[in-house]
Every structure is written in structure tokens, then in C-alpha cells.
């Protein structure tokens, strides 16, 4: 109760999210996770993209920026590099992150710049009315795949691993404790961290796929995921984390490595060259 008063802009509530949406669960877990850290509210920036998840910044009482579709990570990169003392958290949808923003996503992973990226993966374009996202398994229906989708899916976690992110985890809103614990670890990680959260959209994904009831939608998420420790050991390699190879998507922390972070490397560059101000620049 108290936490919501501390961290939410009560004047901006209620949010635009539908009953049964899991986004609020992610926000709650994020607030809980942030509350365990030492970060001051004034030093936290939350950047959002476009879509249902993109509305996250409006309701959070931090420095917030609601950007353009797919570009949240690029905006966040500018913020972090220009003022590295800020803690920058990025909220994106799955279409936002790996469709229109796919290029920014892989390059943010590659750079290992210190951002905590959360992908709210509901496997559908909710805000525009239920069109096909790049993330659902084949055979799922949407307003643009009425007979079932035959495109292979992108797996955001797998993509992040391949692109070189130093922290990658996937969890669901069903397992709130794990979600909060993973967010805490991601926030503590120095470098680029990706947390993919599977979250229900009963309004569109559910309605189009016989999961209209929010409870059934949650059950679906539970039943189609599998904790990493339950995945057969020989399959726990990077390659086999591709969910297209699984009936069930693995959840858990797939990678947590310490690697040189972009803004720290840039600080070293500044220290190394600051005495070399070009004679050409001033006459």
C-alpha cells in the first residue's frame, strides 16, 4: 500500500490497461524491486516506447520519458551516456522491442550499456487492436492472422543472448516472487540487462485464441513455460534456449556475466584523451 503511494503518480491513475492485463503486475514487481535498492527516485529514469507497455512511464513517480515506437532503447542510450549517474530503466512491448525496434534492441545488447530493459511480452499488438506480433508460437490467431499465424516467432531472450547482452532472464507475471527477484538482480547488474516478462492480454490475445478468461490466460502462460532447472541439462545451452525448439518456453536467468560497461569504457577514453584538446579546434 505504502509503496504504491511512494512510487506511483496517483493523479495519473487509473492506467489505460484492461482488466486482466498483466502489466500492472510487472509495475508492482518493479516498484518492490526498486524499493530494495539504494537508488533515489530523483536519479531513476523510466523510458517507455509505444504500445500498452509504453504507458508505464506515465504512472511512475520517477523521471519519465514516453518516446516513439521501437526507439525507447535509443533514447535511453542517449540519456545514459550523457548522464551516467542516472539509473535508466526501459519498458517496452514485444512488438516495440523486437519488431519495429529490433535493430536498436540487438545493438543495445551488443554495446552492453547499463540499461535495465523490460520487455512486456503479451505476444500481440494490444493498443492497436490485436494484430499479429513477432513473438507468438505458430498457429496463433490475431486480427491479421485469422486462420493462425504461420511465421516463425522471435524469442526476445534468445535474441538478446545471441546479440551479446550480459544479463538475460525470462519470467512470467504468474510467478510474482521470481519476477521481483529477477528484476532486483537486473537492477543490480552493471551492463545491459534484459528481463522478458510473459504477460497476459485476455482482451486481444485471449479473445482471439480461446483464452478470453483472464484466469485461463494466466494458466496458459503457466502451462507453456518451464523453469530452467527443469529443462534437460543437455538442452541448457544458448542455442537450445530458442523456444521454437520447446513445447514450453524456459524461464529463469539465462546469463549473468560481468563485462566492461559502455559508459565506464567511455569514461576511460575521456580520461585518456582529455589532455589532447585539438589545437585545430580553437585558433
Amino acid at each position: 500500500m505504502e509503496l504504491s503511494k511512494t512510487y506511483l503518480r496517483t493523479g495519473a491513475l487509473p492506467s489505460v490497461w484492461c482488466p486482466g492485463c498483466g502489466n500492472g503486475v510487472i509495475v508492482k514487481a518493479l516498484i518492490n524491486a526498486i524499493d530494495t535498492t539504494e537508488y533515489e527516485k530523483d536519479n531513476i529514469v523510466v523510458v517507455g516506447g509505444i504500445g500498452c507497455s509504453g504507458r508505464t512511464p506515465f504512472i511512475l513517480d520517477f523521471n519519465t520519458m514516453h518516446t516513439t515506437h521501437g526507439r525507447a532503447l535509443a533514447f535511453a542510450t542517449g540519456i545514459k551516456l550523457a548522464r551516467p549517474s542516472l539509473k535508466v530503466i526501459v519498458a517496452m512491448g514485444d512488438g516495440d522491442a523486437v519488431s519495429i525496434g529490433g535493430n536498436h534492441f540487438i545493438h543495445a545488447c551488443r554495446r552492453n550499456i547499463d540499461l535495465t530493459a523490460i520487455v512486456f511480452n503479451n505476444s500481440i499488438y494490444g493498443q492497436t487492436g490485436g494484430q499479429l506480433a513477432p513473438t507468438p508460437p505458430q498457429g496463433k490467431r490475431s486480427t491479421t492472422s485469422l486462420e493462425g499465424n504461420f511465421e516463425p516467432a522471435f524469442d526476445p531472450s534468445h535474441l538478446a543472448l545471441g546479440a551479446g547482452a550480459s544479463f538475460v532472464a525470462r519470467t512470467t507475471v504468474f510467478d510474482f516472487r521470481e519476477l521481483q527477484a529477477i528484476l532486483q538482480k537486473a537492477l543490480a547488474h552493471k551492463g545491459f540487462s534484459l528481463v522478458e516478462v510473459l504477460t497476459p492480454c485476455p482482451t486481444y490475445f485471449g479473445r482471439m485464441n480461446d483464452l478470453r478468461d483472464p484466469y485461463e490466460m494466466l494458466q496458459y502462460i503457466k502451462e507453456t513455460t518451464l523453469p530452467l532447472e527443469d529443462v534437460p541439462l543437455q538442452s541448457q545451452t544458448v542455442v537450445s534456449l530458442d523456444s521454437s525448439m520447446f513445447e514450453k518456453r524456459p524461464t529463469g536467468i539465462f546469463r549473468d556475466e560481468t563485462r566492461p560497461e559502455y559508459t565506464e569504457l567511455y569514461r576511460e577514453l575521456i580520461n585518456a584523451v582529455s589532455s589532447q584538446k585539438s589545437a585545430g579546434s580553437q585558433t
Binding site: 495519473a12 527516485k41 530523483d42 536519479n43 529514469v45 523510458v47 512511464p57 506515465f58 513517480d61 520517477f62 523521471n63 519519465t64 520519458m65 514516453h66 518516446t67 516513439t68 526507439r71 535509443a74 533514447f75 535511453a76 542510450t77 542517449g78 540519456i79 545514459k80 551516456l81 550523457a82 548522464r83 549517474s85 542516472l86 535493430n103 536498436h104 540487438i106 545493438h107 567511455y266 577514453l269 575521456i270 585518456a272 584523451v273 582529455s274 589532447q276 584538446k277 585539438s278 585545430g280 579546434s281 580553437q282 585558433t283
Partner: protein, 383 residues
């Protein structure tokens, strides 16, 4: 001690950005603007600033806007294809009143066109390229020292008006070297970011004072129509906000109008041009004057907001206005609109990737002047 030296247009632009306090640059390689990025990559860390090469131009403009909101003075530079990609971010900067400078070193044609050939055909895109009604300032320059000064101006205006400023260069100006004396520290006015006197109860939008993220006021920035606190509004309130940001520019046209002129006092023929093409016009004016044709030159530095008032005034004394530009008709149409039929306006274009020559301008004006004089003679009824 002032020292003349050979400086390239793109170099002048980068040095000017540093001079104006630019401390963040994000970009993507593209001909003919890349030297600006290369120089910023080398110099910015020496100044304690930051440079980042992004994955594309959409990311570049987005990172630049993010960096403004983290408190930095920012710039990016590109050319046609990249400028097209940046339009999304330019719209965001415009509605969020984000000070930033975007340099477009123009090259020939739509799409890939001719990357190493010059043109001045992005003027309308600079003004109208992003969707929706929006405020913007568009500047240009006609020689290397001018590039330096207009780059500093671009930063100053973006701070004063909290608006993205587009600086249009072109392939020739970007790459040519001229012997110039670059301004000394303090020689040119540099407008610092205006900060609020107090953070408490500060509204982050609605005026020229700017507060960055992380400076004690936890506000919201959004590309949606918003109120002065950064929260979404609709309908009449959205219209009111749009009119407010438009008015910042529209009601200051005279202050924003920058130009150089030659021999306007007694001129009856006006050559109105801008950028690299003005250089050819200068020579043409000399030649025409030496033959007794009363010609003057207007070299526009501000292309938007368009100085209608200036053309309205000048059209009272001009029989004929020629607008040479390296496209098939862009600024010439603005001139026609502003003149409202009071003078005859003609466009002189070229689209083969080469510059308009003084000879082309001279010949066109000489022919037209002949026609004008014949008409005058017949109007007076004497032969």
C-alpha cells in the same frame, strides 16, 4: 593572434558545434556529412563530452534527444537518406520542445541518388518533412566561415526557442576548403541553456527555461499532445498547446530572419538565393552592375520561418526577382507566395549535380532586363 587557415565546411561545422557548447553527438556514417561525425568522435571526449555511433539515423536522432533531456547540448549530422529517417525524431523534438541541432549536408536526388553530387533539394523536407503541423527553424550557409557562424546560431536559436534547428549544407560547401579565420573564444555570442530559478512547482513545458531529467523534478516527457507538465491532453487543449509552440516561431519571424545583401538600395532586379548558390549570384551581380543593370542580391540564411515581410517590402521596388537554387523549384515558390504578384518571380534551377554558374544567372537576368526595358519603352509610347 588570429591565424588564417584552410578549413573544410564540415570541419567548420564540427568546430562551431564545440564552440557553441555541444557535448553530445550521435550519428551514422553517410556521404557527404561523415567528416562532421569523424571530427566529433575525435574531439568530444577531449572536451569531456560524449560521442556514439548509433545503428542507424533513427537511433541517432533518438539518442540525441535523450541526451538533451539528460542535460547536454546536442547535434547530429546526416544527408538525404538519413535525413528521411530522422523525420520521426524531429517531430518528437518539435512537440517536446527539445533544443537540438540537425545538420543535413544535401546531396542529389531522392533515395540513394548521387551521393557525391550536390543539390539544394531538401528545403521543403527540412520544413515539412515530419508529419503534422509543427514548429521548426531552418538555416543555411554560403561559405565556410558562414558555416561556423550559422552552426553557432543554430545552437543559440534552438536554446532560445526550445525548437529543433535544421542547418542545411550541401555537398560542395561541406567538402570545399576556404582560407578562413575561425572566431576566437568570446567573439561570437553563445546562448547557454536557460535554467529555471527554482525547481519546485516548475512546469517543464511552456517557456524557454529547461530542466533536465534527474534535476529534482520528476516530470514526464511525451510525444503525445501534452500540457505544461508533460501529461496527455486532447481536443481544444491539444490545439491550444500546438498553437502555442507554433507561435514561438511565427511571432518572431523578423527576429529570426538572417540574411546578407548586396546593392539592394537602388536595385530594380533582385537575385534571391541561399547557400552555395549565392556565391555564383555575387559574381553575377558584379557583372550585371558593371553593365548598368541595377541588380541586388539577397542571400538568405533563414529559410524557415520564411521572411514574407522582407519580400513584401522588396517587391515594391523590384521589377523582377530571380531565385537560383539547385532544385526544380522550392524556395522560389515561397518567394512567389510572399510577393503575391507584385513582382515577376522566376526560378533558375539545376539538377545535374553541378553548381549554377555566374554566367547562367547573368544571361537570364540580362535577357529579362532587356524585355522589361522594351515593355517600359512601349508603355511610354515612344520608340
Amino acid at each position: 593572434m588570429t591565424q588564417q587557415r584552410l578549413v573544410q565546411g564540415n570541419e567548420a561545422c564540427a568546430y562551431a558545434a564545440l564552440y557553441a557548447g555541444c557535448r553530445f553527438y550521435a550519428g551514422y556514417p553517410i556521404t557527404p556529412s561523415s567528416e562532421i561525425m569523424e571530427l566529433m568522435a575525435r574531439e568530444l571526449p577531449r572536451y569531456g563530452g560524449s560521442f556514439i555511433q548509433m545503428e542507424d539515423e533513427i537511433a541517432s536522432i533518438s539518442a540525441v534527444i535523450g541526451a538533451t533531456w539528460a542535460g547536454a547540448k546536442v547535434m547530429t549530422a546526416t544527408s538525404g537518406p538519413g535525413f528521411s529517417l530522422m523525420q520521426e525524431g524531429i517531430g518528437y523534438a518539435s512537440i517536446t520542445e527539445t533544443p537540438c541541432v540537425i545538420v543535413d549536408a544535401q546531396r542529389w536526388g531522392p533515395s540513394t541518388g548521387q551521393p557525391t553530387k550536390t543539390a539544394q533539394a531538401d528545403v521543403m523536407q527540412a520544413i515539412w518533412g515530419t508529419h503534422g503541423d509543427h514548429p521548426i527553424i531552418v538555416l543555411t550557409a554560403s561559405h565556410v566561415r558562414d558555416v561556423f557562424e550559422m552552426t553557432v546560431r543554430a545552437f543559440n536559436l534552438s536554446e532560445e526557442y526550445r525548437v529543433p534547428v535544421i542547418l542545411l549544407l550541401d555537398e560542395v560547401l561541406s567538402h570545399m576548403r576556404e582560407n578562413v579565420t575561425l572566431p576566437k573564444e568570446g567573439e561570437l555570442k553563445v546562448v547557454e541553456r536557460q535554467r529555471p530559478k527554482q525547481v519546485k512547482d516548475f512546469a517543464p513545458f511552456g517557456h524557454s527555461e529547461f530542466l533536465a531529467l534527474g534535476e529534482g523534478l520528476r516530470f514526464n516527457v511525451t510525444g503525445m499532445a501534452h500540457n505544461n507538465h508533460g501529461f496527455p491532453v486532447q481536443g481544444a487543449e491539444a490545439e491550444q498547446q500546438l498553437l502555442r509552440i507554433m507561435k514561438k516561431i511565427q511571432s518572431n519571424v523578423e527576429k529570426l530572419t538572417l540574411y546578407e545583401s548586396v546593392a539592394l538600395e537602388d536595385a530594380r532586379v533582385l537575385i534571391a538565393s541561399y547557400g552555395i548558390t549565392s556565391r555564383a549570384c555575387e559574381s553575377a551581380v558584379d557583372q550585371l552592375r558593371s553593365e548598368g543593370i541595377p541588380t541586388g542580391l539577397l542571400d538568405l540564411k533563414t529559410l524557415w520561418p520564411f521572411p514574407d515581410f522582407l519580400f513584401k517590402k522588396l517587391s515594391e521596388q523590384m521589377e523582377y526577382i530571380l531565385v537560383p537554387e539547385l532544385n526544380l523549384g522550392q524556395v522560389s515558390r515561397e518567394v512567389e507566395r510572399a510577393v503575391q504578384g507584385r513582382s515577376r518571380v522566376e526560378h533558375l534551377g539545376r539538377a545535374d549535380g553541378s553548381l549554377i554558374t555566374p554566367q547562367q544567372i547573368y544571361e537570364r537576368v540580362k535577357n529579362q532586363w532587356g524585355t522589361i526595358q522594351k515593355k517600359e519603352v512601349s508603355a511610354h509610347g515612344t520608340l
